[in-house]
C-alpha cells in the first residue's frame, strides 16, 4: 500500500501542466507500446564503463517526447530507474 508521502517525493513535477491539462479530446484508449533494449542488461554497460540512458538529461527526454505529442507531468526516480508520468 502507499502513503500520502508519495505526493511529496517526486524528482520532478510540472505543476503548470498539471493544472491546465484538459483531456476532453483523449478519446482513444488502446496504447502504443514501444520497448527498446539497447543492451541485454546493466552489467554489459558497467564493463564498458560508459554512460547509460539514465545520464540523458530530462530536457532531452522532453525534446524526444515532444515528437510523440506527450509532455512530462511528473517523474519518480529510484536507484535503478526513472518513471515518467506523461500527458495524454
Amino acid at each position: 500500500t502507499i502513503t500520502i508521502k508519495e505526493l511529496t517525493n517526486h524528482s520532478y513535477i510540472d505543476h503548470q501542466l498539471s493544472a491546465t491539462l484538459d483531456s476532453t479530446e483523449a478519446f482513444e484508449g488502446p496504447e502504443k507500446l514501444l520497448e527498446i533494449w539497447f543492451y541485454p542488461n546493466k552489467k554489459c554497460l558497467s564493463e564498458k564503463n560508459t554512460k547509460t540512458l539514465r545520464n540523458i538529461e530530462v530536457n532531452k527526454w522532453v525534446q524526444i517526447l515532444k515528437l510523440v505529442q506527450c509532455e512530462v507531468l511528473s517523474i519518480k526516480s529510484t536507484s535503478d530507474m526513472d518513471a515518467f508520468l506523461l500527458s495524454e
Partner: protein
C-alpha cells in the same frame, strides 16, 4: 502515458493520438551524441539488442495521426529503422479486437563475451511482462475515474514551457496528483501485488479532467506496473502492464492469475485480452497462465494463441464476460 528509463532499456507506452514512432530518429541521434552508442549496421539500419512494438487494434483508427492510422504503415516505418524485424497479427483478423506485434531478432553480438555460457548470465532470464487490455468497463467501476476538477486557463493563451524543468518541490497541493492518489487508494490499485518481501514501493498517479487516470507504481526500485484508464461510456478502456516478478515479490504466496483477478475485479470489463511474454516455455508463470482459463470466474475464453518468438514465448488469451 508513461515512460520508463533504465540504464540499458526504455519502455514507452502512449495513449490517445500520440505519435510514438516519430521519436525514433531523435532518440537514436541523442543516444549517439550523448552516450556514444553507435547502433547502426553496414546498411545504416539500427540494431539494438531487441525491439518490441505492440498495440491492440484501435477503436478509432482514422482519428490517429499519419502512420498510426494503419498497422502496415507502422511496420513499414519500423522496417526503415530496424534490421531483422517481423510483424504479427495476433487474434482474429475479422474482428476489431486483435492485437499487433512487431519484434526484431535479438542482436546477440551485444551480449558481453562470446561463449555460449555467457548467454545465461547476460540476459534477464526472469524477464516477464504481463499486459491486460480491457474494454467495456462496468459503468460503476469506471465512474471511480471521473473527477471533473477545474482546469485553470493557460496564462495569456501561451503555455510557459521554460520554467518547469528540474522543479523538485513536490507540493502536495497539486490537485491532479492528489486526486490520482485518492483514486488509487479507493480502488485498491496499490494492492494488486502482495509485497510479502517488504521491498520499497513508490507510486505516482494523476487524475485527468474531465476524466481518466494514469499511474506508475515501482516495486523494489526496479520493477513497475502501470495503469491507464479512459472511462468514457461507449469506448471505455483500461490497461494494466507489469514486469513485476510476482513469485519473488510475494515470497511464493501469489501468482499472475491472482494478479489478473485483482485487476479484473477493479474494472469488470465486458471483454479483455491478456498477453504474457517470458523467456522460455518452462517458466512457472507461463505454465500456470496456460491453464488460467478455468480460473477466471464469469469469463469465457474466446481465443488462445502461443507464439514461439526466438528467445521469448508469447501467450495471448482473449476473454469475454459470460
Amino acid at each position: 502515458s508513461s515512460l520508463f528509463v533504465y540504464d540499458h532499456k526504455i519502455t514507452l507506452k502512449t495513449c490517445g493520438t500520440t505519435t510514438t514512432l516519430f521519436c525514433l530518429e531523435e532518440l537514436f541521434k541523442i543516444i549517439e551524441v550523448e552516450l556514444g552508442w553507435i547502433m547502426t549496421n553496414e546498411q545504416g539500419k539500427y540494431e539494438p539488442f531487441k525491439v518490441f512494438y505492440s498495440r491492440r487494434s484501435f477503436m478509432f483508427p482514422l482519428k490517429q495521426r499519419s502512420i498510426h492510422k494503419n498497422w502496415n504503415d507502422e511496420v513499414d516505418y519500423l522496417n526503415k529503422f530496424f534490421a531483422n524485424g517481423r510483424s504479427y497479427l495476433v487474434g482474429r483478423n475479422d474482428k476489431e479486437n486483435h492485437w499487433n506485434l512487431y519484434v526484431t531478432d535479438t542482436n546477440k553480438k551485444l551480449r558481453h563475451g562470446s561463449s555460449p555460457d555467457s548467454e545465461k548470465d547476460d540476459d534477464e532470464d526472469d524477464d516477464e511482462t504481463l499486459e491486460i487490455l480491457m474494454t467495456g468497463l462496468n459503468s460503476n467501476c469506471s465512474q471511480q475515474f471521473v473527477c471533473n476538477r477545474e482546469i485553470k486557463p493557460i496564462a495569456n493563451g501561451v503555455k510557459d514551457t521554460t520554467t518547469n524543468i528540474n522543479k523538485t518541490d513536490g507540493d502536495a497541493d497539486d490537485e491532479g496528483h492528489l486526486l490520482g492518489y485518492n483514486m488509487t487508494k479507493k480502488t485498491k490499485l496499490d494492492k494488486i501485488y502482495e509485497n510479502n518481501s517488504g521491498v520499497s514501493f513508490h507510486h505516482d498517479a494523476f487524475a485527468f479532467s474531465p476524466c481518466g487516470y494514469s499511474s506508475n507504481m515501482i516495486l523494489d526500485e526496479q520493477y513497475y506496473y502501470t495503469l491507464h484508464i479512459t472511462p468514457e461510456k461507449g469506448w471505455s478502456y483500461a490497461s494494466f502492464e507489469s514486469n513485476v516478478p510476482v513469485k519473488s515479490i510475494s515470497l511464493n504466496k501469489q501468482d499472475n492469475i491472482d494478479v489478473m483477478r485483482r485487476v479484473i475485479n477493479v474494472f469488470n470489463p465486458k471483454e479483455f485480452c491478456m498477453t504474457f511474454f517470458c523467456k522460455g516455455s518452462s517458466s512457472t508463470s507461463f505454465i500456470k497462465l496456460m491453464n488460467v482459463v478455468e480460473q477466471i470466474p464469469n469469463y469465457s475464453k474466446r481465443d488462445k494463441i502461443v507464439y514461439d518468438l526466438e528467445d521469448y514465448q508469447l501467450l495471448y488469451i482473449r476473454f469475454e464476460l459470460k
